[in-house]
């Protein structure tokens, strides 16, 4: 697999600095009340986001990864609700080390504190760049708005900085494109503009929610490369959400694998790609083209399909689809996320049995 060399590069690089947590997400619970019952979209997720590093969150559609990303900024809309947990944010720009820790979720919704964090300290980019810009406002209008919300600068200055940023993200002809409407730009260009918008306020965390989905492969690679180099320049932390293990290999340092609102495996990207532990992660890898052993030219798939989110199976949520299903254990008790291999954690009875 060509990706592995890249993975090793990244791990080597990130060993140099002491690790400083920017975000600590603790036991986050977000649920949706629907006609068919309560959907626990995020069900007790905890992890850290570390300065200068990228945590990748991977899972099938509907596993709660986007809801997780939005919960961090209190962006959950009705009928969704954050029902528990903490998102602790530490701003190192203000002071050193033990800079004051703020629980973002405890901030009054819509208040000035949460608004200064949104877009100022923590920026977000989305999938479908085309629909993430208002179609009736120019790119520049929306960039200037973001800049002036978080920096005390004039319109002219904001405009200059916006052009500057468009230039940095490789937008051709930035001083002209800034006056363009979204429908006049391509998907790749729009995503570049989105990144410029998100980073122009110098945030310490960037949340990227499937930013490359829907773009063609070449553009996808360019955007990933751009994000990587900008992260190196700015030193920001990144939370990268995707359903694509290839993208994870490209950009992440640490990886969370999510299934039905829970983290089933947590590992560094090298560990994950070299020795996936959880049967679900393994299944993801075997269903990926180009890895694993392929018999009779057919791509293996995970048997069954993701259960309805409001009626998750008892015991381990994955047991009906699991190849290593142990009757009497997996369908009764819920496994915990435990260390299995050094830093690597998995929630599976295969590993807790031996204790």
């Amino acid at each position: 697999m060509p990706k592995t060399s890249k993975v090793e590069d990244k791990t080597n690089k990130s060993d140099k600095h002491p690790e400083r947590q920017v975000l600590e997400i603790r036991d986050l619970h977000t649920q949706f009340s629907t006609h068919d019952g309560v959907v626990k979209a995020v069900d007790g997720v905890s992890f850290d986001v570390i300065e200068g590093k990228t945590v990748g969150i991977v899972g099938e559609s509907g596993c709660g990864k986007s809801v997780l990303a939005r919960s961090v900024l209190q962006l959950i809309e009705h009928p969704g609700q954050i029902v528990g947990g903490k998102v602790l944010y530490r701003d190192y720009a203000e002071g050193e080390e033990a800079a004051s820790q703020n629980d973002i979720l405890a901030l009054p919704s819509g208040g000035s504190e949460i608004r200064s964090i949104r877009g100022g300290h923590i920026s977000m980019i989305f999938q479908e760049p085309m629909s993430s810009f208002s179609p009736v406002h120019t790119i520049g209008n929306q960039m200037v708005e973001a800049l002036r919300l978080h920096k005390p600068i004039s319109k002219v200055e904001a405009n200059e900085q916006a052009v500057d940023w468009l230039h940095r993200v490789g937008m051709p002809n930035p001083s002209e494109r800034i006056r363009a409407y979204p429908h006049e730009l391509s998907g790749g260009q729009l995503q570049r503009a989105m990144i410029a918008l998100a980073l122009s306020t110098n945030p310490s965390v960037l949340i990227a929610d499937e930013p490359t989905t829907g773009l063609d492969v070449t553009t996808q690679a360019q955007i990933l490369e751009l994000l990587g180099s900008l992260q190196e320049e700015q030193g920001m932390a990144m939370m990268f959400i995707t359903h694509d293990l290839g993208v994870i290999a490209e950009i992440a340092d640490d990886v969370l694998v999510m299934y039905l609102g829970r983290v089933v495996e947590e590992a560094s990207v090298t560990q994950l790609f070299q020795s996936p532990q959880h049967p679900y992660t393994k299944a993801l890898f075997t269903s990926m083209p180009g890895t694993g052993e392929i018999e009779d030219n057919r791509l293996p798939t995970i048997k069954g399909s993701v259960p309805e989110p409001h009626s998750r199976p008892a015991g381990c949520f994955f047991h009906p689809r699991c190849d290593s299903f142990m009757s009497g254990t997996c369908d009764i008790a819920e496994p915990e996320l435990l260390a299995v291999n050094g830093q690597q954690k998995a929630s599976c009875f295969l590993y807790s049995e031996g204790e």
Binding site: M288, K303, G304, S305
Partner: protein
């Protein structure tokens, strides 16, 4: 390299429901639409059995009981369930010479259900004199009558006239909407199925028809109808005039549906297997959006009813001796007289109730047919 899973239906308990069942299940959730449907059904029932529901002959005039106010029906005589009304006694004010009525409850006229009244031929076939309510036989011989909603200038029972008007106004709605449906569906289908030049042509005509202020044109068309035409001729002429401008919405709905259906596999399959276009349109495409069509049709009826009522109200639609809600409302054109005889406004109530009910019903149907469509 995306994470993808394959559907595996064996492991899932899937029950299949037909489109009709699904629509019905969604429709049932709209309580308001359900209630409205019952109300609409009741109104059409009244329209169907107008002769039976009517209490008095709607065309029998009597100057002696001109402009009599509504008589309230008392359900109990003491504790005894014996419905009756009080006799109305006419008095003439010696100064203003204006005639007024007062209820004299010493003379009680008993009211019963399935009483005998004026003779009629139900649907032109069955001869009968039974009515839903009426006075007992002995009182009838004394010419005592009941007027639940009072009488008009010529002493005709308003309740019975509203009941007969229901038949006219609601049937104009139905006949008109059928015409509209024919025009709208054919033009919409042709436009959406063939596309290209024909589509452009029809779309432009739709835009032009929509840009025309309809009421003046209706007025003019209704105004130039020959004065010597009979009730039935006027009735159909008015219906056609109203339908002439009402088809554009339906045509748009049908066209939109056809445009999207044209891309569907089952239509392509039918085309590839060499079916004629008539067959594809009527056997394959139309049935797949019956529920939309029913919803759009239901929503088109209210404007038909309003149009008829408005035209007749202005004296350019149906005219006496025809009875419709609009004709009845003509009596309210003079505010000064209505102030003294407010019950003449009562025909406005069924108009509003039916229009509201049809709107709610249509909205419910539309939501049920297409839960993801926006209301625009």
């Amino acid at each position: 390299m995306t994470v993808d899973t394959q559907e595996n239906n064996e492991s899932r308990d899937v029950t299949l429901a037909s489109e009709r069942q699904l629509v019905w299940a969604r429709f049932r959730r709209h309580k308001l639409a359900l209630i409205s449907t019952v109300i609409v059904a009741l109104f059409y029932l009244v329209a169907f059995g107008a002769e039976f529901v009517a209490v008095n002959d709607p065309v029998e005039t009597d100057a002696k009981r001109s402009l009599m106010p509504p008589q309230s029906i008392h359900l109990f005589d003491g504790w005894k369930p014996a419905p009756y009304v009080c006799e109305m006694v006419g008095k003439r004010d010696p100064v203003s010479l204006r005639k007024s009525f007062e209820a004299d409850c010493t003379k009680r006229i008993p009211v019963q259900i399935f009483a005998r009244g004026f003779e009629y031929k139900f649907l032109g076939l069955l001869r009968s004199d039974r009515h839903l309510i009426g006075v007992g036989d002995s009182e009838r011989s004394q010419e005592s009558l009941v007027f639940p909603l009072g009488t008009d200038v010529q002493g005709r029972g308003l309740f019975s006239r509203i009941v007969y008007g229901t038949r006219t106004s609601l049937s104009i709605g139905l006949v008109g909407v059928t015409l509209t449906l024919l025009i709208g569906v054919s033009l919409g289908a042709v436009s959406g199925y063939f596309g290209g030049f024909i589509d452009t042509l029809i779309q432009r005509s739709v835009e032009i028809v929509r840009a025309i202020p309809t009421i003046p044109i209706w007025l003019v068309l209704a105004g130039i109808l020959p004065r010597d035409w009979g009730v039935l001729q006027i009735y159909f002429a008015i219906t056609i005039i109203i339908s002439l401008f009402a088809w554009t919405d339906l045509a748009r709905v049908v066209r939109g549906r056809f445009l999207s259906l044209r891309e569907e596999d089952f239509v392509t399959a039918a085309m590839l297997s060499g079916a004629r276009w008539q067959r594809i349109v009527f056997r394959h495409m139309l049935p797949s959006f019956y529920s939309h069509l029913i919803a759009a049709t239901t929503l088109a009826i209210p404007s038909m009813i309003i149009s008829e009522t408005a035209l007749s109200f202005l004296g350019l639609g149906l005219r006496s001796p025809a009875i419709s809600w609009g004709v009845l409302l003509q009596a309210t054109q003079n505010v000064h007289s209505v102030a003294l005889t407010p019950w003449l406004m009562i025909p406005a109530i069924p108009v509003i109730v039916v229009i509201l009910a049809l709107n709610f019903m249509g909205d419910g149907l539309r939501d049920a047919a297409d839960p993801y469509a926006s209301t625009s």
